[in-house]
């Protein structure tokens, strides 16, 4: 499965990519990394990934607006929101836009692996 990683932090993007070396996630291949919503839409259209990890607070276009756009392009896309915004209202807002899961920062590698597995099994 193809994965697009969207986050304005270089460290978070590489951390998510590194987690994919876990044997249970060998079926996931990173096809692009974007640092804001605008870049994400362009890379998404180019690769049409089945999976996306999405930050919320980003420059140019935030993760809520970006999630809505990506779902319009590919309604069956699995979007996992990974954000430090840990209030229920924000999680609900992204789920309403079409995201399939929400993971709060800070997260451990184990929690991220579990979140990916849950996302693809659903």
């Amino acid at each position: 499965m193809k994965l697009l990683i969207v986050d304005d932090s270089t460290i978070i993007r590489s951390r998510i990519a590194r987690t994919l070396s876990h044997p249970k996630l060998a079926f996931i291949q990173v096809v692009g990394m974007a640092q804001n919503g605008v870049e994400a839409i362009s890379l998404f259209a180019q690769h049409m990934p089945e999976l996306v990890t999405m930050d919320i607070t980003m420059p140019k276009m935030d993760g809520v607006a970006c999630t809505e756009k990506l779902i319009q392009i590919k309604p069956d896309c699995n979007i996992l929101v990974i954000s430090a915004l840990s209030d229920k209202a924000t999680a609900l807002k992204t789920l309403k836009k079409g995201a399939r899961g929400f993971l709060y920062k800070p997260f451990s590698d184990e929690v991220l692996v579990a979140a990916f597995l849950e996302l693809v099994s659903s």
Binding site: I11, S83, Y104
Partner: protein, 154 residues
């Protein structure tokens, strides 16, 4: 005087505790939380990341740490690129995580910005924070860092 209370400050203390526990598997010692007034300084370290608030609150929260601590945190995340821009990205991400987690207490009407990061020299925080700011001192391993909460109701 600040118009935020002890519970408000505690939400930031909790966010700092959760961050270190989750990322390092260890507890950070929260050494003190004091108000910057009457000549008490906010301690500035090598690198500072901050988040600005808007909506129902205005102001900023700062995370300031020495380079050694940030490098050590990156190692804990298995990140071996320790270029200056990575270190700055890391302090920005810590500030972002602390602010984002604390927002659970303040509500979603409190908007938070993307992080801004600065390589800082001694005393920098004292030039930018207001006298109503709270300073939370952190000790993790042999390192000290500070979180400065400078927010008020809009």
């Amino acid at each position: 005087m600040s118009d935020i209370d002890e519970k408000d400050i505690h939400s930031f203390v909790d966010a700092v505790s959760v961050y270190f526990r989750q990322i390092t598997g260890e507890k950070a010692e929260i050494r003190s939380a004091y108000l910057v007034e009457g000549g008490v300084a906010a301690t500035t370290f090598d690198l500072t990341g901050y988040i600005s608030f808007s909506g129902s609150f205005s102001g900023r929260v700062y995370f300031s740490a020495p380079r050694g601590m940030v490098r050590h945190l990156l190692l804990m995340m298995k990140e071996f690129n320790h270029a200056e821009e990575q270190l700055l990205d890391a302090v920005g991400e810590v500030a972002n995580t602390i602010a984002g987690n604390a927002r659970k207490h303040f509500g979603s009407d409190m908007e938070i910005s993307v992080p801004v990061t600065v390589a800082t020299s001694d005393g920098w925080l004292d030039t930018v924070v207001s006298p109503r700011s709270y300073v939370i001192m952190i000790k993790w391993k042999q390192y000290k860092a500070s979180v400065v909460v400078d927010i008020q109701h809009a």
